[in-house]
Symmetry: C2
Subunit: 148 residues, 2 copies
């Protein structure tokens, strides 16, 4: 059975989300599209929270989040201790997010990178393994909830 | 009295941190340097947590965090609901992080952007105002703790 990968975006990321779904499918994933469903204005934190809820429900363990710059949706995503959301802007940063940070969510900025760069990020992110080693202790520290 | 701006990095960001302190001073800030103090290997989450502690203690309300890609330290920073940490890679993203996300922490990747690009990010980030308006409700949603 194909692994499910969750994807969500705000209105600014809607077009890029639509373009990246076939990229994920070509990589062999079943895509769980959590919206948004059009270009009507919505709030990016709601879509990061929806992806976190899907992770907690066991419906996906990796995902993609998109807003205009990727900044807002990456802040919102990283409020959730079970997400390690990496804002990437090219193949190299997508590779390092996996190798060093064991990121499980790729964040992209639809207004600041082009669709082919985004495709490169997705293909790299979902085919690169975590290196472990000296990075593992740092990643473990990211999983400690800090809210009071 | 000059506003205090906090800055912290891991070993990969140590050189860039050293270079950016005078940039912040030229902007009129007193700089609160929270380490690291050299190129010996350290864990980036510890420095994001130190900056969050400085914010909570009232010692700073804006800051800069640096690691190799900026990814790990931005994940760690955004575990803290009082931080809105924006990973930026050029002046435009630094500008939008302030205008749209009211980011209070600028994250930079010392191994992926050059020192002059980093200087541009700092100068832009610390001189650009939040736009408010439609962005305010979204930013408010980022301040809701989600830990259980």
């Amino acid at each position: 059975m194909a692994e499910k990968v969750a994807i969500a975006s705000d209105h600014a990321g809607y077009g890029l989300k639509t373009a990246l779904i076939p990229v994920l499918e070509r990589l062999g994933f079943e895509v769980l599209d959590l919206g948004t469903t059009g270009i009507e204005s919505v709030d990016y934190p709601d879509f990061a929270n929806a992806l976190a809820a899907a992770f907690r429900a066991g419906n996906a363990r990796r995902g993609v989040l998109i807003c205009g710059t990727g900044i807002g949706i990456s802040i919102a995503a990283n409020r959730h201790p079970e997400l390690r959301a990496a804002l990437c802007h090219d193949g190299l940063t997508a590779e390092l997010a996996r190798r060093h940070n064991d990121a499980n969510v790729l964040c992209l900025g639809a207004r600041v990178i082009g669709p082919e760069t985004a495709r490169d990020c997705v293909e790299t992110f979902f085919t690169t393994e975590f290196e472990g080693g000296r990075h593992a202790a740092r990643v473990a520290k990211l999983s400690q909830p800090v809210c009071k």
